[in-house]
């Protein structure tokens, strides 16, 4: 599919600096991103990382101090928001309180000066898309938070934007509703075929919904990749730490063979590890292993790692085991409770650890 590969948004060397002189604050620096057509692309990072600033630059609520933002090849960075074929779902929805649900949804088309008939038809289509037909004549303050969320989505989709921007749209919803809306958003994206750029600080949400994720911190993009790449092949400590729980070990690089390298752990054991494509690992490195990629085993001479169980936490679906290694660091294991009954280990037991194949990744820093 050629269209799939076409770029919807190209962010080229974008920077945003606030203030001048000594009080200068850099919100974004030298951002490069390619967002493909039809993609569900997520900007993920802690608050203050610049993800919302980047979204505002794409929407036109703010303007970059450096660089260009191309929408299908056209630089939109200097355009005011009402001249960009891009719509936004706001964090608190920003629905117009003096209008009905239908009027809210029709607002964009109304402003574009479309004929009445077309607007009515499109509003009906959108109401059906988000299952809100029964609410069309309600004022927006008379509907629930989840329904407001749907209206906000429908309103932003009604003018058929080339890209839809979503600014933490689920953060105001409770857990159950949030899960429902995640599914709903994915469905709507698949049905409409519109490119979504989604901003969130919630890593689970990002992993669950995205085609690709850009992890950001301190105004920079740290890593871009599919959810599994971000999770299993983090490029640096920040990404590994921000997404899920993780174990860090120090090791020495022994040999490199293609995209795979062999490292020696501090206890002398040898382990295969992958590494980010843009570096050549050498000397002392940090490797990262996810808790679910290690397993407990009976102690043996040949074990990769050995230690003593510090404590266990039974969580129903799985058990968290914290193992103290000989160098006094803690290694966390998450073991799925696939067998019924007690786990068979208890605190204080000497244990060995095995690591799943391909589970170790070398970090850049």
């Amino acid at each position: 599919m050629r269209k799939q590969q076409e770029l919807a948004i190209e962010v080229r060397g974008v920077g945003r600096v606030y203030g001048d002189g000594a009080g200068q604050v850099t919100a974004l620096s030298n951002i490069f991103l390619n967002i493909r057509q039809n993609e569900f692309f997520t900007l993920l990072g802690p608050s203050g990382c610049g993800k919302t600033t980047l979204l505002r630059l794409i929407a036109g609520f703010d303007f970059p101090t450096d660089g260009e933002i191309l929408l299908y090849g056209e630089n939109i960075a200097p355009l005011p928001p009402f001249k960009r074929p891009v719509n936004t779902v706001f964090q608190n929805y920003a629905l117009f309180p003096h209008m009905t649900v239908a009027q809210n949804i029709g607002f964009g088309l109304e402003m574009l000066g479309r004929p009445k008939q077309e607007i009515t038809a499109r509003v009906e289509e959108m109401l059906a898309l988000v299952h809100m037909e029964a609410m069309r004549n309600r004022k927006v303050m008379q509907i629930s938070g989840g329904q407001q969320q749907r209206v906000a989505l429908a309103r932003a989709l009604a003018p058929k934007p080339k890209v839809l921007l979503l600014d933490e749209p689920l953060s105001a919803l409770d857990y159950k509703l949030r899960k429902e809306m995640q599914v709903e958003l994915k469905r709507v994206q698949a049905e409409t075929g519109i490119t979504f750029i989604f901003v969130t600080h919630d890593q689970d949400e990002a992993l669950a919904m995205s085609d690709r994720i850009a992890v950001m911190s301190h105004g920079e993009v740290r890593q871009v990749g599919a959810p599994w790449e971000i999770y299993d092949r983090p490029a640096e400590r920040f990404v590994a730490d921000f997404i899920g729980e993780t174990n860090f070990l120090t090791a020495d690089v022994i040999s490199i063979d293609g995209q795979r390298t062999t490292v020696r752990l501090s206890n002398g054991s040898m382990l295969d590890a992958t590494y980010p494509a843009d570096i050549t690992p050498e000397g002392k490195v940090t490797i990262v292993i996810r808790p679910e990629h290690a397993q407990l085993a009976a102690p043996s001479k040949a074990a990769l790692l050995a230690g003593q169980i510090e404590d266990l936490t039974y969580l129903g679906t799985d058990t968290h085991i914290r193992v103290r290694l000989p160098d006094t660091s803690i290694f966390t294991i998450r073991q799925q409770n696939s067998r019924v009954g007690p786990i068979g280990f208890s605190a204080g037991d000497a244990v060995a650890l095995t690591i799943s194949e391909n589970a170790a990744q070398i970090l850049k820093d």
């Binding site: 117009f96 309180p97 607002f107 402003m111 303050m141």
Partner: protein, 269 residues
């Protein structure tokens, strides 16, 4: 457990509150009662009658002054509210700039300047202009009232603008509304209760003014308050009470209308 502090059960509070209510409303109450006195005294009750209302209604000077008051107040309130709306938008919807704080205080200055100072200043200024132009119509009073009404109209409008979620205007711009359309379809409808409140306030303040009016008015330009002040120099009859009562009812009506207007607007919020 310690007893919770509740201001309503502290000794003396109820008494003080009652005293305050008395102080506020007893004079008004007696004023209204004696408007219906059939005698000519404003202190000795002689029986119930509408006599003084009829007298006021038949007094051309009163009717003229009342019409003039309403005229001035209506025009001044509209102009002041328009100016205040623009000022409020300029001070809340633009990026902060040098001199913004100064501008805030500048707009609100008339609230602080003693009215008598403004009155004297306007008297001097307008007398010059009168000499130059020869014009001596109602324009001076309207201009003066507009000037001191602006800050009163400005305050509720600015409060409303500041409480408005800026994301709404951003959302409208995102949905292809040009800045003018954002104002027309989003800001203005949401601002309407504030504008109405500002206009009512300006109207009442203008209607009530005496100091500046007294200084600025030309001969034969009595407003209701200055007419009443003039009458006080002579024998006071319950006619004054009757006029005041009508005045009071008018103000209450305005406040009530506004209350319901703003409430119906809040409901749709």
């Amino acid at each position: 457990m310690r007893k919770r502090f509740d201001i309503r059960v502290q000794p003396g509070f109820a008494t003080i509150a009652m005293f305050c209510f008395f102080l506020l409303y007893v004079p008004i109450f007696t004023l209204v009662v004696y408007a219906f006195n059939s005698g000519i005294s404003i202190a000795r009750w002689e029986g119930f009658s509408f006599r003084w209302f009829v007298a006021a209604w038949n007094n051309n000077l009163v009717i003229e002054a009342a019409i003039r008051s309403v005229q001035i107040a209506a025009i001044a309130a509209v102009i002041a509210t328009a100016a205040a709306t623009l000022a409020a938008i300029a001070t809340t919807r633009t990026a902060g700039y040098r001199g913004l704080t100064f501008k805030y205080s500048f707009i609100n200055m008339p609230l602080m300047v003693p009215e008598i100072v403004t009155a004297v200043a306007l008297l001097i200024l307008f007398s010059r202009i009168k000499v130059w132009t020869g014009y001596s119509g109602l324009g001076y009073l309207i201009l003066a009232h507009t000037a001191f009404c602006i800050p009163f109209a400005y305050l509720p409008i600015r409060a409303r603008l500041e409480n408005m979620d800026l994301a709404l205007e951003r959302a409208a711009a995102d949905l292809y509304a040009t800045p003018f359309k954002v104002f027309r379809y989003i800001t203005l409808p949401l601002l309407w209760p504030g504008i109405l409140a500002g206009m009512m306030l300006a109207f009442v303040i203008s209607l009530d003014d005496i100091v500046i009016t007294e200084f600025v008015k030309s001969a034969g330009q009595e407003t209701l308050p200055t007419y009443m002040l003039g009458q006080l120099r002579r024998a006071v009859t319950p006619e004054m009470n009757a006029i005041s009562t009508v005045f009071l009812l008018l103000s209450l009506a305005i406040v009530t209308i506004f209350f319901f207007l703003s409430r119906s607007n809040e409901k749709s919020d």
